[in-house]
């Protein structure tokens, strides 16, 4: 079971929910994956001891000037303007390169090789209560988060089949899509404010595009109005948990505490939340089998 915790709007409580959920099912030794590689915060709450690291690189072109005749074919095929030919010289802009390898394949002189360009780091270790932990960290100044997230998802540092909780970045564009694709369930964390509501609708559209079952956690419930409730009802998106607006929760989270540790009464509620998501995901699978048969 792979669960992705996402939101649309930032700061609604994705990491708060994802870390508490991981601790609530710690007897299943879940794997918590921090996919918010630009601003990863899961380690603050789960306190892993990092035992393994790996550099994530992207293959970028390196041109052998003794073979290159400046024909310009590489620049012509590159869709990202990452390689250009100016005054018989080839220039590479690593931060624009997507590592597709097309320039290498198309160079008639076979003058291009690929060299690794480091983009960031993967780290893994065991955290509180035996929760397994891995995260990606994008290097400062690097624009592309997606290759790090992709590498993190594929990193076989823990090999067995235990539940995976992916903590997504905010927004609705490519890093979010990379994080939730392949998940069995997406849990969207929102707050009932105009900003939270607007971004929730966009996030639901993304999840629907990928055809993944979805549920909602309403955080800071009571702060705003009823539109999130009405919308979820209309769209048939189940609200699986509500956490009231409570300054004490905010203070505990600010200190780096998870909800289930600071407020143990939440422990059974997070266990229940996990069970509900598993049921909803199984129900979807059963439905698919039926319609396929």
């Amino acid at each position: 079971m792979i669960i992705a915790v996402a939101s649309g709007k930032g700061g609604t409580g994705k990491t708060t929910i994802a870390t508490s959920l991981s601790l609530a099912i710690s007897e299943q030794s879940p794997l918590y994956l921090d996919c918010d590689v630009e601003a990863p915060n899961g380690h603050i709450f789960l306190q892993p001891s990092i035992e393994k690291t790996e550099v994530v690189s992207m293959p970028i072109p390196a041109v052998d000037s003794s073979l290159c005749n400046a024909c310009g074919r590489c620049a012509e095929v590159c869709q990202y303007h990452a390689i250009v030919v100016i005054a018989e010289k080839v220039l590479v802009f690593p931060e624009l390169c997507h590592g597709c390898g097309s320039c290498v394949l198309q160079c008639p002189q076979k003058a291009i090789e690929e060299v690794p360009n480091p983009l960031g780091l993967l780290e893994a270790g065991v955290a509180k209560n035996g929760v397994r932990f891995a995260r990606g960290v994008l290097d400062i100044g690097q624009p592309m988060a997606v290759p790090i997230i992709r590498a993190l998802k594929q990193w076989n540092v823990f090999e067995d089949e235990s539940p995976i909780i992916r903590d997504a970045p905010p927004g609705t564009s490519c890093p979010v899509v990379e994080t939730i694709s392949g998940a069995d369930f997406v849990l969207l964390v929102t707050e009932p404010t105009p900003f939270g509501f607007h971004d929730l609708q966009l996030a639901v559209q993304v999840v629907n595009t990928l055809e993944i079952p979805v549920g909602v956690v309403v955080n800071r419930d009571g702060i705003g109005d009823d539109r999130v409730n009405t919308y979820c009802q209309k769209m048939g998106v189940p609200i699986l948990m509500r956490i009231p607006l409570d300054f004490d929760i905010g203070v505990a989270v600010a200190r780096g505490e998870t909800i289930v540790e600071a407020f143990p009464e939440y422990m059974p509620r997070f266990k229940e939340l996990y069970d509900r998501m598993q049921e909803l995901s199984n129900a979807r699978d059963a439905g698919h089998l039926k319609s396929a048969g």
């Binding site: 990491t15 198309q106 564009s173 890093p175 404010t193 559209q205 705003g224």
Partner: protein, 301 residues
């Protein structure tokens, strides 16, 4: 003309609410500035909900291209699938198809296909708008959900805002940034004269503050910091103060947690017009006076 960008690293620290208040204060202040607003958070754009926006122009945003395979021309050789590094070519019973979500539009398959069965199709990735807001011309956009190229759309929005500001001699372009430190953030800070970083005294907020400061330093953009929801943690606020002192970064203000900020948002207004006497409004007025002073001291372009 100066360009001020509002950033945070961590999401949800209050960038948009503070940008809206600053747009009001900048244009209403006794020594008021003429401003152009830009919402650079194109995949979760919210500034329009507190700026009383009237859209006056809408244009399509064409993002990248994605590959499409013509099944009639395809010989089923599978070279496209071997070439693709993004697992975007799916094969089922000898029939090849492109997964439009996984495709990065690199066109490697297009150039390799021996049967010329692949075309690259332009993608309508969103819309961008020129609007009139309560406090000045406003450029914003809506990226379609699950689309790529948000950095390109941010660049477009900012270009449009700058062009208008230069043509019509506005004093300030105020850019509401996006969370994180990656591609849309880098697009948002490029060309900025000053970055206002909105942080909160939580462990996560402080961690991400450090990452965004490293990023603005990396690109040579001077930064100032404002601490929002300062009463969440006294220790956290002190930690931010120590960090900024060490880095030589000025803290331009501290805003207490104030439920009126949410009420203002519910009402579609900046806090400084909705509740002038609120604690947050007082703090924001002091912050604007400081920022205005810093902007004046910056060497003119």
């Amino acid at each position: 003309m100066k360009q001020l960008v509002v950033l945070s690293g961590k999401g949800g620290t209050g960038k948009t609410s503070i940008t809206a208040a600053l747009s009001h204060l900048a244009s209403q202040d006794h020594e008021s500035l003429s401003i152009v607003l830009a919402d650079a958070d194109v995949d979760a754009a919210n500034l329009e909900f507190v700026s009383a926006v009237k859209k006056i122009k809408q244009e399509d945003f064409w993002g990248g291209k994605i590959a499409e395979i013509d099944p009639d021309a395809c010989s089923g050789c599978g070279l496209c699938a071997v070439t693709c590094r993004f697992e975007a070519i799916l094969e089922e019973a000898g029939v090849y198809q492109v997964d439009p979500i996984a495709c990065e539009g690199c066109a490697a398959c297009y150039y390799m296909c021996p049967s010329s069965a692949i075309s690259m199709i332009d993608q309508l990735a969103g819309e961008w708008y020129r609007s009139d807001s309560r406090f000045g011309p406003f450029f914003h956009a809506a990226l379609r959900p699950a689309q790529e190229n948000s950095g390109k759309l941010v660049t477009l929005i900012k270009q449009q805002a700058r062009l208008l500001a230069m043509d019509e001699e506005y004093d300030l372009v105020l850019v509401d940034g996006t969370p994180g430190i990656g591609c849309p953030v880098i697009s948002a800070i490029s060309g900025a004269d000053l970055a206002l970083i909105v942080t909160e005294p939580s462990k996560a907020g402080i961690h991400d503050l450090q990452r965004i400061i490293e990023t603005t330093d990396h690109f040579g953009i001077p930064s100032i910091v404002c601490i929002n929801k300062m009463d969440l943690s006294v220790d956290g606020t002190r930690e931010i103060e120590d960090f900024c002192a060490k880095q030589g970064i000025e803290i331009v203000g501290r805003i207490p947690f104030d439920v009126d900020v949410t009420r203002a948002m519910m009402n579609g207004e900046p806090i400084t017009t909705y509740a002038e006497g609120s604690v947050a409004s007082h703090a924001l007025r002091d912050i604007w006076v400081k920022i205005n002073g810093i902007l004046k001291d910056l060497v003119n372009e």
